[in-house]
Symmetry: C2
Subunit: 206 residues, 2 copies
Amino acid sequence: MAYPTTMNSTLSRRERNKLEKRQRLLAASLLLFREKGYAETKVADITKAAGVAKGTFFNYFPTKEEVLLALGEQMLGKLHQVEAKELFGQGLVQDKVKALFHSLASGLDEDRELLREMVYRGLRLPDLISKERTRLDFRAMLALLLQQGQRQGEVRKDIDVDFVADALFTLYFQQIVSWCSSDFSFSLQDRLDEVVDLIFDSVAVR
Amino acid sequence: MAYPTTMNSTLSRRERNKLEKRQRLLAASLLLFREKGYAETKVADITKAAGVAKGTFFNYFPTKEEVLLALGEQMLGKLHQVEAKELFGQGLVQDKVKALFHSLASGLDEDRELLREMVYRGLRLPDLISKERTRLDFRAMLALLLQQGQRQGEVRKDIDVDFVADALFTLYFQQIVSWCSSDFSFSLQDRLDEVVDLIFDSVAVR
């Protein structure tokens, strides 16, 4: 996805510097949260690791919790090992949505404790649902896949793809929350397969 | 539902007094939030209206926001004008779930501004999903209705009713959040009908 590059080219050098610094703070925070835990990490640790002045932090994030929230949003929508090419090639869209969820889930599996911290402290459905946030890419990809399904006669033409994409995203988020609340007592991938089947049994052409 | 009475009879007088005081604080808060708005209402206003000593408030709620959260949970699961009798009488379960959602939505319609405040300040999906909370009644009712549907041959026998009840509850919550975020720009009842149809198109016997 060429989005960041395209976007950067229209930004001034100052704006680009700002984006880069924000990204550096996020990357440093993620490493430290994983290594020392969220509670043990101080803002000073983050700025030191990111190589920025301590006061600078608050130009980017009002609190440490906001960093966690931003990381959570990135993490929930981050695609691992799935190429856009694969997603838009041949095959059933139902299987592709499963592959997309598997890919997201396998990324989350590596960061269980951090994910739990995020879910309980920071991540809120209202923020995730609001259109301005980063999960747009993921939701948009779900809508594109559903449209592809409509074109290839797999998905009913009379469904509202945005409505169904939102439902899929919401149920994905619900399962992550349940997974954390249950102390990771079930297989997230299996449960996400059930979510995809529930929705596709409804929207499939019969 | 005889649940509160049954529960009270097993409680000591002291415990009953505590429950009553908590309920009085909640009722007084709701009236004041509606009348003056959440931000304008002070803890002292609430204790005065409820007729309890000011310091007592914090034995029940750590913050004013916690009162809003507790009210939100009651509100999202509160049944209006729908009798349990009706829900478990004759008829399609799909229509009954719609009636249940309509009833909940009409109650929320009267408290739009307060609802928005709740969604943005207090209500979080993790809290609503955790099993100990009050929404259990609503979720349990959805599961009972789905089981009724299975008995009368309307709903597939191979579905997990708890999984589907959770999905329905989550999508209900999502639509309330979207409704608030969009400044109440769509008909909540129509949208909830679409949610019920999406899920029932999946779980219906064909």
